[in-house]
Symmetry: C2
Subunit: 340 residues, 2 copies
């Protein structure tokens, strides 16, 4: 068996995905990544390694004249492989390029969700590779993300909050873009160039065409390294979150709206911040409208030693400091509002 | 008072450094960063904000013909400011450029340590800025560092393991390179160009001249952002280390050479790795010659569920798995060797 197929089925088992009796949606743009994903699935089905049904889904962003050719290519490939095919053409209402990228993404995932529901599938498969992982890391780094935002994409997660459908990226942990191109060539499939790849106004394309080549010239292993680093960052974030949970339990009083500040002294700042976030999210239900400035104010209130002051939170709650405790209160105004 | 001086004295107090009765070594290369550091200290002394003694120390790397001019500039400036001046010329024996950079750094710090000892100083001051923080982050990122290696430089640390002398970077948290250049210009001091800045064979110079300008073109705030991110990474690493300490205490048996694997199940992978590192470093005294492959083998031994296997560590120790416990043993051979 071809080494691409071997790596593919190994990863599929490692991710403990079903090997029979289920249907999956395969998201295919027509680029090498998603075309190789589709080809691999089809071949593993033929070889009876995967006894699954696949529905090919193509979302036509309709941002360029030639997008119809991508659609035709994916349709033809699906027919050739004997697979069901669904597509949708997007009508954009977004104003500027940055919004466009995000809206296109939202519309695509919405479409995939609809197809997933229609066919009662176990999951949606996408062709993201190690390169996408590294590019996403740099994209977020350049947009100013904090640590949590730099954590890696997971190979398996829920597609959305509502349904139990999985979003699975079977190539993410092992395949580089060059591997997917090589596999397509070896299968004599002339994949389409990634439609996004031509417009340098998209930050991702600048990263792919300018930033990564410069970094690779300095360190040829940088793509793999950035992908590993972002995975390590996700793990590290989970670790800090665990530490915060343990510390919150230690600091919380019988009444959950009080925490003992003494228990937080001496904690690493990263844990202290997370403890405060967990505490407030537990009491408020979420962290909506809270930002860095509220947490900085809380830190000052707790550790400046000057009691009597208070921090007002959006939504009308207040936090006061008294006798070494931070105390959370919903104000009367807020309660009245909540009652309406 | 000039805003550079105001920011400087604010940071000095924030770092809780002594303001009277002590002597500090000021490391000055002659570039804008260290020249502005020296000028600020001298002016704050004149204004009696800092009643301290300063010894200027210049290390001549002697890697270029003009290095003598840097030395002459620093000497002249010190005399003009009425400060003691010490310098040393380096005799290099390093072979290639990469080694050269590291050896030069070692020789410089050794020299600074000697001057510090000679004058019984409280600390050595260097002119590192936010830009150095960002460049160091990118340097390590490009060299393939893991999370711990990407953590920020601290504004205050011990100069070396042996002595109680501090290494202090008073500009690190707030000054950009442009600020130091501006302050020198406003003081009519013609600083020297950073001697390292001319040789693109040095990775740091490529980062400064190629990588950072490209990233700044995408995000003008990237220098500050990378510096903040590396500080957050250091805090996050400290948080994960704390979580690991707590978890190790929970997992350890009466005999410290046994840990209960059940206590580690379900922990984030980042914490689990740190727990194993802490456990072994406690038992062995250090982590010398242990690398990633040993920890991966230990993880497999602990969580694969197949008892009876063992992991051999360099130095002859072994770790076995039995009844849900990891057990550390020094082998007889090792004990005999240790006895010789």
């Amino acid at each position: 068996m071809n080494s691409f197929l071997r790596s593919f089925i190994t990863e599929w088992r490692k991710l403990q995905l079903p090997v029979a009796g289920e249907t999956f949606v395969v998201a295919v743009s027509g680029g090498a990544d998603s075309a190789s994903l589709l080809l691999a699935l089809s071949q593993l089905k033929q070889k009876k390694k995967l006894e699954l049904e696949f529905v090919v889904a193509h979302f036509d962003h309709a941002l360029r004249k030639e997008s119809g050719k991508d659609e035709a290519f994916v349709k033809k490939l699906s027919v050739k492989l004997g697979l069901r095919y669904e597509s949708e053409k997007w009508e954009s209402r977004a104003k500027n390029k940055e919004n466009l990228e995000q809206s296109a993404r939202n519309a695509r995932y919405e479409f995939l969700g609809r197809i997933a529901e229609q066919y009662h599938v176990a999951g949606v498969l996408t062709g993201h590779t190690i390169n996408d992982q590294a590019e996403t890391f740099l994209l977020r780094l350049l947009r100013g993300s904090g640590i949590d935002g730099l954590g890696a994409m997971k190979p398996v997660r829920r597609l959305n909050d509502v349904k139990s459908v999985l979003l699975v990226r079977p190539l993410l942990n092992w395949a580089q873009r060059a591997d997917t191109e090589e596999f397509c060539r070896s299968e004599k499939i002339k994949y389409r160039e990634d439609p996004m790849n031509r417009d340098e106004a998209f930050l991702r394309v600048r990263i792919r065409k300018q930033v990564l080549p410069l970094l690779q010239d300095i360190n040829p292993q940088i793509v793999t390294h950035l992908a590993k680093l972002s995975s390590a960052l996700r793990e590290e974030g989970e670790a800090a979150e665990l530490a915060a949970q343990v510390c919150l339990v230690a600091a919380i009083e019988v009444n959950k709206d009080k925490i003992n500040v003494k228990q937080l002294t001496g904690l690493p700042a990263a844990v202290r911040k997370r403890v405060l976030r967990l505490w407030l999210s537990g009491l408020r239900g979420d962290l909506r409208r809270l930002d860095m400035k509220h947490f900085t104010a809380l830190e000052r209130l707790a550790f400046s030693g000057t009691g009597g002051k208070r921090v007002e939170l959006p939504g009308g709650e207040i936090v006061t400091f008294s006798k070494g405790r931070l105390i959370f209160k919903k104000t009367k105004v807020e309660k009245r509002r909540a009652g309406n």
